[in-house]
């Protein structure tokens, strides 16, 4: 089993304390997005004759570098540029795989394509994680560039086949830039300060988030599980990785890890304590929501004590991606002020 703790390392612009955690996240996410999002969709289009292998070859431009790979002087700088490149890859994949002209792709098609429901067809994960941080980073760079190159060829082939237009791509890129866990943070903060909004949110899910000018998305229902003194909610998707990603962006990388999926539905209390350092009192009941794509769950965490005078925006700053799936609690005021 992976020795690296799944402890969250997200946080954007903080100093990187946990190099190994960042590398594990990079390796896992890169593997996931190219093997489970990009390649199955290329296969999907090939199988259905939307494009051919020859189209892909013709569209490939070996001369065009994905993006100049900066000559990083430190491990930390290398990790940051790899993370930026990975973000760009993930957004690029999302751009080209919705809204094709002649072919409607539903998510379940991709799940079947990558063999989620049948171990025989399941696309294998490649092993990773060996070597020193510098070696791992040196491996990630070219692999990211390769994934970008495939994505670029795939995108160009779809454009050439008339399945997409560059205007549509530009339009979609703008929309995607606004999707992220920050939407979840705003939803939670509003629910903390406005009990009537909270009631509508719990009852109607997606419909309520329009009040915050957040596009509600269309991936099934939004389930909102409210934490109380008695119940702590956790979200997982053991079948694939269902998540309200059209609303909250992509989930933290460990959400897709087998270790999390297997342990959290077997021994949630121990899994939360050991994988995330979240030790809940014995008397707090734990309810694990195993998503089944038609209801995509987010957790409404409890408002931390001592935050009565904070504004809605300040409250939103307390929310972490982990707290939105119940693998962590919102930051306390002291923790928040310790961050830049």
């Amino acid at each position: 089993m992976d020795p690296a703790p799944l402890k969250p390392t997200a946080g954007g612009h903080r100093h990187i304390h946990d190099v190994d955690g960042h590398l594990v996240a990079l390796e896992s996410d890169l593997e996931y997005f190219r093997r489970k999002r990009l390649e199955p969709r290329v296969l999907f289009c090939l199988r259905r004759g939307v494009i051919s292998f020859a189209d892909l070859l013709r569209a490939d431009d070996p001369a065009a570098p994905a993006e100049p790979w900066p000559s990083a002087t430190t491990i930390e700088a290398g990790i940051r540029s790899a993370e930026d490149e990975l973000d760009r890859l993930v957004r690029g994949i999302a751009l080209v795989t919705t809204g094709m002209r002649t072919l409607a792709v539903s998510i379940d098609d991709t799940r079947r394509e990558r063999g989620d429901y049948d171990p025989f067809f399941r696309i294998a994960k490649r092993p990773h994680g060996a070597g020193s941080p510098a070696e791992r980073l040196r491996r990630i760079g070219p692999e990211l560039a390769d994934a970008h190159r495939l994505l670029a060829a795939f995108t160009a082939a779809l454009l050439a086949a008339g399945q997409l237009t560059s205007e549509e791509l530009a339009q979609r890129r703008r929309v995607l830039e606004d999707v992220g866990y920050r939407n979840g943070a705003r939803i939670v903060a509003r629910a903390w300060v406005d009990p009537e909004f909270k009631h509508r949110l719990l009852q109607t899910g997606r419909a309520a988030v329009r009040e915050l000018d957040i596009p509600p998305g269309r991936l099934g229902l939004l389930g909102v599980a409210e934490n109380t003194d008695e119940v702590h909610n956790v979200v997982v998707c053991t079948l694939c990785s269902c998540y309200p990603h059209d609303l909250l962006g992509n989930p933290p990388w460990w959400y897709r890890s087998d270790e999390y999926k297997e342990r959290i539905v077997r021994e949630p209390r121990a899994a939360l304590a050991e994988m995330f350092g979240l030790a809940l009192a014995r008397e707090v009941r734990i309810r694990v929501h195993d998503s089944t794509s038609d209801v995509r769950w987010m957790v409404l965490p409890q408002r931390p004590p001592g935050t009565a005078d904070l504004t809605e925006d300040e409250l939103a700053d307390l929310i972490t991606p982990e707290s939105l799936v119940g693998a962590g609690l919102p930051l306390t005021r002291a923790e928040r002020s310790g961050r830049p």
Binding site: A104, S106, I107, D108, Y117, R218, L219, G220, L221, G223, T238, L239, V265, R266, E267, P268, R269, R282, E283, V284, R285, I286, R287, V288, H289, D290, S291, T292, S293, D294, V295
Partner: protein
């Protein structure tokens, strides 16, 4: 069975106890394997969820069903009706151990 017909056939109610079947007749794959053969309690009824971005055809009505793991932990899963057999009502609970973990 899909769409309005399925909605009309919604037959479980909140509080009912349901057994998760081993296989689904229509082949809808979205029920975790570890829950099959277990009994849980329906806590919410969602009706037919139209979700064309996820699956082109509507699945039968959807329920949130809770399965106890131990005294203080539980799993809630959202399951379609074709996977569920009614085995007890709120007044007459299931006549077998509820949610006995298979592991």
């Amino acid at each position: 069975m899909a769409g309005p017909e399925a909605a009309a056939a919604a037959r479980l109610r909140v509080g009912d106890w349901a057994l998760v079947l081993a296989t689904s007749p229509s082949g809808n794959p979205r029920t975790p394997a570890y829950l099959r053969g277990r009994v849980g309690q329906v806590v919410r009824s969602h009706g037919v969820v139209s979700n064309p971005l996820d699956h082109a055809v509507d699945y039968p009505p959807l329920y949130s069903v809770v399965f106890p793991l131990d005294a203080t932990t539980e799993v809630l899963a959202d399951l379609h009706e074709e996977w569920l057999a009614l085995v007890g009502t709120p007044g007459a609970p299931a006549g077998r151990p509820v949610g006995a973990p298979p592991w």
